[in-house]
Amino acid sequence: MALASIAAAGRAEFQLVIPSQTKYLNLVTGLAKRAALVAGLDDAAAAKVSIAVDEAVTNVILHAYKGEADHLVELQLDFTPQALEVHIFHTGQGIREDQVILPDPKEYVTHPRKGGLGLLLMSRFMDEVRFREAAGRNECCLIKKIS
């Protein structure tokens, strides 16, 4: 049972599981924004967190799960005194740090093309963006410091 296993591990984070469908994006980003406000961030910073979470979850749905609707995406929010941490777990195809290519906005604007902006927004709007594999799952971790 999800609840029991988490309680047993003594963790007390905020956790959310959604099906891998973009129709739930708005729920997730709304939640992320409120969580950021609870964490003590101001409205502008909270909006940035919510966009970064949108981008990360969208990538999981569209790239890691290739748009297949019947998988799960798990989010964990950790509230620490220093930061809000958003951990996004999935069992689809992962991305390694060395595959993360951030377009140069200057170069980008002179050569307009579709896509490739999500990772850039994530890295600009968060203080840290990490990708890793753990316990058979892939994780994208987004950290926003509380100033």
Binding site: D43, A47, D54, V109, P112, R113, L117, L121
Partner: protein
């Protein structure tokens, strides 16, 4: 689910597009469809009035990027107005405020659009 609704109207040669709500990966097809329809109708001078736009993710910016060349090659443009602070931050972070002309309000944008040099 009314995550996004899009109002399109004509303002003297400029087509004003007003998306209300959220443009994300779920709703972007509607947004892209609305823009593509204008291009198909050869309405190349487009003002995106973002007054009622709560939120746009990179998917939405991609939709704009995907059409800007066609629009400009046809003597038109995509202008932006009425960006909230949060929406401005997204456009600005990705360098869009360099690539697109951004106006405070719709009136300023319409005046600039009908100034000489802008085909309508």
């Amino acid at each position: 689910m009314p995550d996004l609704s899009i109002e399109v109207r004509d303002a003297g040669g400029v087509t004003v597009v007003m998306p209300a709500g959220f443009i994300n990966a779920h709703t972007v097809r509607d947004f892209e469809g609305a823009l593509e329809k204008l291009v198909a109708q050869e309405r190349f001078l487009i003002l995106l009035n973002c007054r009622n736009l709560s939120y746009i993710s990179s998917a939405g910016l991609g939709a704009i990027m995907g059409l800007i060349e066609t629009v400009r090659e046809n003597g038109g443009d995509i202008l932006l107005s009425d960006l909230s602070e949060n929406v401005f931050a997204i456009f600005d972070t990705l360098g869009f405020t360099q690539l697109y002309r951004v106006f405070k309000g719709e009136d300023e944008a319409l005046a600039a659009a009908s100034a000489p040099g802008q085909g309508a």
